[in-house]
Symmetry: C2
Subunit: 394 residues, 2 copies
């Protein structure tokens, strides 16, 4: 059996690119940019007025002029205006282009307007209330980087520079396959020896966050049917996420089936809990990556985050932000396996503390619901209160 | 002008419930549970075998018996089996019901099977490798709570207890309305005095996270058209999020229009930056809440999170997890306004540190893209490196 560390390295070594595609801007939330994005013009694109009021020439202010005849009114969205006489002013609104011959904006709060004449009510500064052309970004400057995840803010930036179609990374086509004859559908009333399927639905929902809509499939524990359905799934997907069928049981046919379908076993069984029976492999010919998780819900969900999400992050060339939390309970990890313990995290005084959840180790999905993630405890170590430990968030 | 604190109180005082609705399980990700969820049976629902191997009666082990004739094989998903002779064993798979007359499971790793006889290879313990009926949850126990957000884990729990249709909080119908004649669509090439719309698209994307698909509307700065379109929007929505049109400019018609449409002004202008011109009100008759943000993108996006998201959180009765971060730069907030400064956060050694972004205060959406959120700096205070400050995440 290999260690968690070796297993993760082997998983990451198979990371794959899936190409890129152009999609409409409003569909691109949470997708990954596949190109750098540049400013298509200066930002702001013109000397932009930042207060409602009047625009004047600073010469007049320097000559201690305090009253200005209003020549015209310009709104945001008007073509650039002009101040004809440097003794006068124009009324101007936030967002408008600074008119020609003007270099100062005085806000309404500082003037009084009567009979077409604006009069200063207080001393004012020249050359203010203007957001200078190109002061945020110059035309051609990079505004967003390739391999960045697109959040709501990035949508705004993409809109600003006119990217109505966005080049994003393609996502893998994924099949989630459950096995196990004890499983029935959610809407069914299970017989005493049956339980409802839940694993695959948790994974389905988890993939929604990644903007992936997987195929959901349940296969009966019959070898011929299994072989045929896994073969089909390999034909039509880039990744298979399976749960169940890789333990040592008599009806755990998956390892044999993978062999028949030329899915090369990269490893089977890892020195870890939960998830010892984890099977991982690759069908080289079709470039399909196969994660075969143990059947119990906790184990599948945890290993999905520990292995699959890290693989996906690497495949999409996203930055993998490792995070650490502060342990608030001592843990004796005195064994030869890596342990993943469910924790609830609390941010207190700017520190992230991990509280261990009381699990009975049974793979109880209901305890899982209280967890924010797992801490990873390497083998043969004792952990004290206050120790920093690696954290994988759900 | 009122303070940020007063403004937020007034906003939260108008929080509204929108009722509840039943939706299919797989559509419920990120929605808010509108009812407590209870276990419909014990979990596990039966004494569940947790290892592949043989099941025996512990009497035989106590009598130092080491070889067992295999009576039968039971898979997961089979009805409960039975061990006829307490001297014998049955082969049993993970996930199966413990057969009658058995109370101990011995895993394959600890036995050898030859000619239908299983022989112990090592000393084994009685009464292990069984996950006891009801040990995770008893029938009728609460497994999820009302007002909880449904994440992938909760989808699994809901599936486990058979909730194929989930009662969730209804979400408000929202219109996002931009004003400002300088705005053109993303796919257009702006004239020198024009800019592309971006505000509304950022908000559209931000609402996608809340599972709300808003109506997007742009209104020209013409009072009659504005009046008619805002009136329409009020008829068909629970919330209006507007940007632009509430400053002191000549074409900032919105405050008048709100008055004509009986949208009661709760406040206009707040001692804060960005977002001083923020307008907030309510149309009582139709129960429509109106957030009217200033036109600049940074200001709108920040105030959306500071006010609207907190209002939505309260309306949906979600827990509002206030968070704090550690300042890594001294800030002199020596003014009478509350300031919202863009920060990038870093988790280091279990601590969350906030790095101030170098903004020019112009409402630059491109700087915004580098921020994880804002820190809130109350007026008349000086902040030192290491101080804890309130953080609002994007």
């Amino acid at each position: 059996m290999i260690s968690h560390h070796e297993a993760l390295e082997k998983v990451l070594a198979t990371a794959t690119h899936f190409g890129s595609e152009k999609i409409p801007l409003l569909e691109s939330l949470n997708r990954i940019l596949a190109e750098d994005i540049f400013a298509d013009r200066d930002f702001p694109p013109f000397d932009r007025v930042t207060k409602d009021g009047i625009a004047v020439n600073s010469q007049a202010l320097e000559n201690n002029k305090t009253s200005f005849k209003i020549e015209a009114v310009y709104a945001a969205g008007s073509p650039q205006g002009i101040l004809n006489s440097l003794e006068n002013c124009v009324e101007i609104m936030t967002g408008a282009m600074l008119p020609k011959n003007c270099d100062s904006v005085i806000m309404y709060e500082d003037i009084e307007i009567k009979n077409g004449i604006a009069t200063l009510q207080t001393e004012v500064k020249p050359r203010i209330n203007i957001h200078r052309k190109g002061s945020d970004r110059q035309s051609g400057e990079k505004v967003l980087s390739k391999n960045q995840r697109i959040s709501a803010k990035e949508i705004g930036v993409l809109a600003t520079v006119g990217t109505s179609k966005v080049l994003v990374k393609k996502l893998p086509k994924i099949a989630i396959i459950s096995t196990g004859d004890e499983l029935v559908n959610v809407e069914e009333t299970p017989l005493p020896h049956q339980i409802r399927t839940s694993n695959t639905l948790s994974l389905f929902a988890a993939l929604e966050k990644e903007k992936i809509t997987p195929t959901l499939l349940h296969i009966r524990d019959e070898k011929d049917i299994m072989l045929q359905q896994v073969e089909n799934a390999i034909k039509n997907h880039d990744v298979l996420l399976l749960s169940g069928g890789v333990s040592k049981g008599k009806f755990d046919y998956l390892p044999e089936i993978f062999e028949e379908l030329k899915v090369e076993k990269i490893f089977h069984r890892v020195l870890q809990r939960p998830g010892k029976p984890l099977w991982f492999g690759k069908q080289q010919e079709k470039n399909v990556t196969v994660f075969s998780f143990p059947g119990n819900p906790n184990s599948t969900f945890v290993n999905y985050h520990i292995y699959f999400i890290k693989w996906l992050t690497k495949s999409l060339e996203l930055e993998d932000r490792n995070s650490e939390v502060i342990l608030n309970t001592a843990v004796d990890a005195n064994s030869n396996i890596t342990r993943y313990l469910l924790v609830k995290t609390n941010a207190e005084n700017g520190e992230i503390k991990a509280e261990l959840l009381n699990e009975n180790g049974s793979g109880d999905l209901i305890s899982l619901a209280n967890a924010d993630g797992v801490i990873l405890l390497p083998p043969e170590k004792v952990f004290e209160v206050g120790d920093l430990v690696e954290f994988v968030s759900f």
